[in-house]
Symmetry: C2
Subunit: 304 residues, 2 copies
């Protein structure tokens, strides 16, 4: 089981040679998730060796082009390469019409179903869960309706304590129930106390994605204590007026949110093309929240 | 004055590391034209150093995604980088709705006008002309309505013969009229014969673009005698059944068209991702039409 985030694009509205428009590929316990899909994402997927037919969930934060212009191309290529298994897309309502219109004019009939889940940019809640993971969304603060996302591992099973299990005569059925946290009442009336035979589960990790957004403290409650936070930092403090005017954040503001939410680690991206170096972003973030990093396209971050 | 074609993308439906989806940048006598705009074209424009705010005309052949999915991103970036001069887009009717819908959902209000010229994929004619160039379109044979394009230099002015002009006492006004091909009747009743004072104009060159299309002899009349022909060659002869089924051409068929049309030079592209090498394409084309070349992304071809 692994939980990691690969940055496919970390630029802002205008792509540069170094930073593609926004997209991230997340693997969480063998679930394969794409967040946002700026133009060129399918080329980045190929460049960084992602097997894109594995992707089953695509989350689109909002309808600024640098976050979704690559989606129709990715879907077309999935189709041309023979995909037949369904794909769930979560995003603003108008996205479905945009996709269907573009596929229709090319007379493309997909061989797979798209399950389109509409997000309105105001509410919050769980949009997907199974036995191992849960994906939820919540509103950010941007010029148009925009969602953030949290991907969480569910609480894992308790672990059998090998020192106690060996030679105990426990049956397979008992072990299964112990992992679930149950005590076992034997036929002879004796009780096997769970805490004697098991150890606490491995910790469950979580990842939060906040882009694009102005500084907004309302975010904090949704991302409280996540292991890894990606928060946009389009600007630095000297350009804070520009950040305010465009509903983006500075690196310091991203770090303030990370600190208030008590996250494990902060990574910042969506850097404006105006900055040639990342050192100001890094310095600003680390002054407020030390465990900060500026992302680069192609880097993979462990969620742990 | 120059006339050249830069290949920004020469792949087919599925992009590869080596070949981006279709796009070409043409400079003809200081007119800057883009033909087709597959996903990632704006990154290719940047990579190959094209100054994209100079582009005034964008021609879209048809609405298969690999020919237009990059257009909305390019237009957005032109806007974000401060464009205020108008842009003419020539393409199928539905393209306008697709563009406007995507810009609207992002609440983007462009600071420049788009002059949208609808092409129906059935007719032919001139879509743009000024004193130096002329652009015309004509129908190709594909699964959906598709246009080819010809860009021609207009007939150039006659050149003054320096050996005759020097010391002749000709006035500036006379020279201007001589370049237009006129004889000059002087006040003293004497006539200056044009062919004594001028040389023939430099030749006028022309470029034709045919992609995507099945083999179609009807094309020949529209591209007769062009200096340079780009014709798609998605396949080679061993895959001719696939070419027929998908309304594409083989390299041999592209060369047959070049030969029948008596063009100066043939370049072929839109190569399927299934071919690792271009040598079969080249060999096949050259057997029918010797002055053939297989294009590569980033190459510039002189139209001469």
């Amino acid at each position: 089981m692994s939980f990691e985030v690969t940055i496919l694009g970390s630029g802002a509205a205008i792509p540069t040679q170094r930073r593609n428009p926004t997209s991230q590929y997340i693997v969480c316990n063998d679930r394969h998730i794409l967040i946002d899909c700026g133009e060129g994402t399918q080329m980045q997927i190929r460049k960084y060796g992602v097997k894109f037919q594995r992707i089953n969930h695509i989350l689109i934060s909002h309808l600024h082009g640098d976050h979704f212009f690559g989606l129709v191309g990715l879907i077309s290529t999935m189709h041309l390469m023979g995909r037949d298994k369904g794909l769930s897309i979560y995003g603003p309502e108008e996205l479905e019409q945009i996709l269907r219109l573009q596929l229709e004019v090319g007379a493309a009939k997909l061989d797979f179903e798209i399950n389109f889940v509409k997000l309105n940019g105001k509410d919050s809640g769980v949009i997907f869960e199974d036995k191992l993971i849960e994906i939820s969304y919540f509103p950010l603060k941007h010029r148009i309706p925009t969602n953030g996302f949290v991907i969480r591992e569910k609480v894992k099973e308790r672990r059998l304590n090998p020192l106690k299990i060996e030679g105990s005569g426990l049956q397979f059925e008992h072990m299964h129930r112990l992992k679930k946290g149950e005590d076992i009442l034997l036929e002879n009336g004796k009780t096997l106390k769970n805490n004697k035979y098991t150890l606490d589960p491995h910790p469950s990790f979580s990842y939060a994605y906040c882009s694009d957004t102005a500084y907004a403290e309302k975010i904090v409650s949704y991302i409280q204590g996540v292991s890894l936070l990606y928060h946009e930092a389009t600007f630095i403090e000297k350009d804070i007026e520009r950040a305010r005017a465009t509903f983006h954040s500075t690196a310091r503001q991203a770090a303030e949110i990370a600190k208030k939410a008590g996250v494990g680690k902060l990574i910042v991206g969506h850097l404006s093309a105006r900055y040639e170096s990342t050192s100001d972003h890094l310095h600003e973030a680390m002054q407020v929240f030390e465990n900060s990093e500026v992302v680069e396209d192609g880097r993979t971050y462990q969620v742990s």
